[in-house]
Structure formats: structure tokens, C-alpha cells
């Protein structure tokens, strides 16, 4: 099992020894700047995702047709996601070994993948029937996608915030 992760370990280890990576983790201000930017871009991304999911659940933003939330919020969600991804990537780049050995980091990655699958499944399966429920309470499939969306992204946020607490790290 350990063997399986060796290439990944080597990659993280290689990055950790790059001069730019060392500089980043030793610079308190630059590092903090990216931490702050990561949280703010998360607000834009997760915040507007939640607004859409509440509409899917039939409990929020009910005066707007779903297709409008989807069309008008999507570009902003993508802006938020892009900045979250860039700032998150830089943070991992700056301290790779800390993340490599962190269970919450891998949990976060895994849950993000599941959240992405949930979004894709909704988009390619349930969304095509949007015309019949656009201005009404959505059908079960859409509600399920909305509930999963809120829960999964909440878990992504929680596991992200728990990364500094290394309860399970064996050093």
C-alpha cells in the first residue's frame, strides 16, 4: 500500500525542496495573504453554490426561476472556484509535506471530487427536465442534488479548516 503512494510522496518532497516553495513557507506575510485570499474566494464560490442549492431544495430564492440562478451565478461561482483553486494550490506548493501527511487535506480533496461528481450528475441527468419545474418546487432528483451539494461543500469547508489540527499525524 505504501508503495502505491511513493510517486506522490516523491513529487511532494521534490516541490518542498524547491527554492520558491521554501521562500513561500518562510514568508509569513505572503503565506497569510494567500490564506486570506483562499477564505474570501471560498465565500464567493461556496456562498453562491449554497444559494443555488437552496433553490434546488425548494427552500430558498423561490421567486427566481432555477435556470436564472444557474445562468447568472455560474460565472461568479467559476471566478470563486478559480481563485480558490489558485490560492489553494499555492498554499500546498508552499508547504507540501505538511499537507501530504494530513488526513484532513486528503479528506477535503476526496469530498471535493464527490461534490464535483454530484454537480455533473445533476447537470447531465436532472437538469435536462428543468423546463417542467423551473419556476416551481424542483423534483426529488434535484432536491437530492441540492442537499448533497450543501452537505458536501460544508464538509469541504470543515475539513479544510481542520487541516492545521494534526490530531492523527504520526511523525
Amino acid at each position: 500500500m505504501g508503495q502505491l503512494f511513493m510517486p506522490l510522496h516523491d513529487l511532494f518532497d521534490y516541490v518542498a525542496n524547491l527554492e520558491s516553495s521554501i521562500a513561500l513557507r518562510e514568508s509569513q506575510y505572503v503565506w497569510s495573504l494567500f490564506e486570506v485570499a483562499h477564505v474570501i474566494s471560498m465565500c464567493l464560490f461556496a456562498g453562491l453554490i449554497i444559494m443555488m442549492d437552496l433553490r434546488l431544495l425548494g427552500i430558498g430564492n423561490m421567486q427566481s426561476p432555477f435556470s436564472q440562478l444557474q445562468k447568472r451565478l455560474f460565472p461568479w461561482q467559476m471566478v470563486g472556484m478559480t481563485f480558490s483553486a489558485i490560492t489553494g494550490f499555492v498554499l500546498v506548493f508552499g508547504d507540501p509535506m505538511r499537507f501530504y501527511a494530513n488526513i484532513f487535506f486528503w479528506m477535503k480533496i476526496l469530498i471535493m471530487v464527490i461534490a464535483a461528481v454530484n454537480a455533473m450528475a445533476f447537470h447531465y441527468i436532472t437538469y435536462f427536465s428543468v423546463d417542467s419545474w423551473d419556476s416551481k418546487t424542483p423534483p426529488f432528483g434535484a432536491k437530492l442534488a441540492g442537499a448533497l451539494g450543501v452537505l458536501l461543500w460544508a464538509f469541504v469547508i470543515v475539513s479544510g479548516r481542520l487541516i492545521p489540527y494534526n490530531w492523527f499525524q504520526n511523525t
Binding site: 497569510s32 486570506v36 471560498m42 430558498g60 421567486q63 461568479w76 489540527y165
Partner: protein, 159 residues
Amino acid sequence: MLEPFFMWLNNLAVSKAIGESIWIFPLVQAIHLVFLALFAGALLIVDLRLMGLGMREQSVAKIARDARPWMILGFVGLVLTGTPQLMQNAMREYFSDFFWIKMYVLPIALIYTFTIRQKVAMADEARVGPTWSKLVGLASILLWIGGVAIPSRLIGLFT
């Protein structure tokens, strides 16, 4: 002036108990962020619309009315999860400039949101005009994100 109060808060049995548990504080901190996302979503959907962006086909009033209960819920959640963090860290927060920036801007942002922003969001859009509308939305983002959220994150990073 408030030092005795913060000292008292710091030394409460509950505050000590929160500090002694290894998981209560981190978990409260994490849930605080989930409520932040909810609050920010309900805030930004309206502010973007005020600025002529985002949900452009809908009236500001419709979007603001729909977003309001979720913004209030998010805010209540933030206060409920913020208080134990303050209690456990009372003295450290007392000596943090960022904490005080947050505490001064917070009531301003709150009053602004429930007076000016609320009035403009509910008013006839033609009467308000796009320029004022944009300014009101921008000021809301600056107050909440620039004045409250960013200093909050900085409390923990610089002490």
C-alpha cells in the same frame, strides 16, 4: 477599559473547558466558516445584483427578500459560533488590533445593512438609479468582506 470584562470572560469555567477540549474549538471554528459561506452567499447575491451583476433579470427587491432569512440565519450562526471562540481566547483577542477593527466595523455594517441597504434594495429601481445602486452594493461588500471578514481571518494569523 474593557480589560476586566475580557479577563472575566477568559477565566470563566466554560471558557476554560472549551480550551481544554482538543476538538471543541477547532470544530466550532470550522462550523463558523460554514455559516460564513451561507452569510456571504446571501449577502453577495444581493450586492452583485445591486451592482448590476449576477441575477440581472430579477428585481433587486425580489432577490433581497428571498435572501434575507438566509442572511439572518447565517449571521445568527456566526454569532453563536463566534462567541465561544472569543471566550476561549478572550485575552488574546483583547490585545489584537484586528479583533477591534472587526468589532468597530461590525455594528456599522449591521446598521448599514438594515437601514440604507435595506431601503435601497426595496425601493423602486428607477428612482434610485444605477449609480447609487452600485455604490450601495459596493459599500456593503467593502464593509462585510473588507472590514469584518478579512480582519477576522487575520486575528489568528497575527497575534
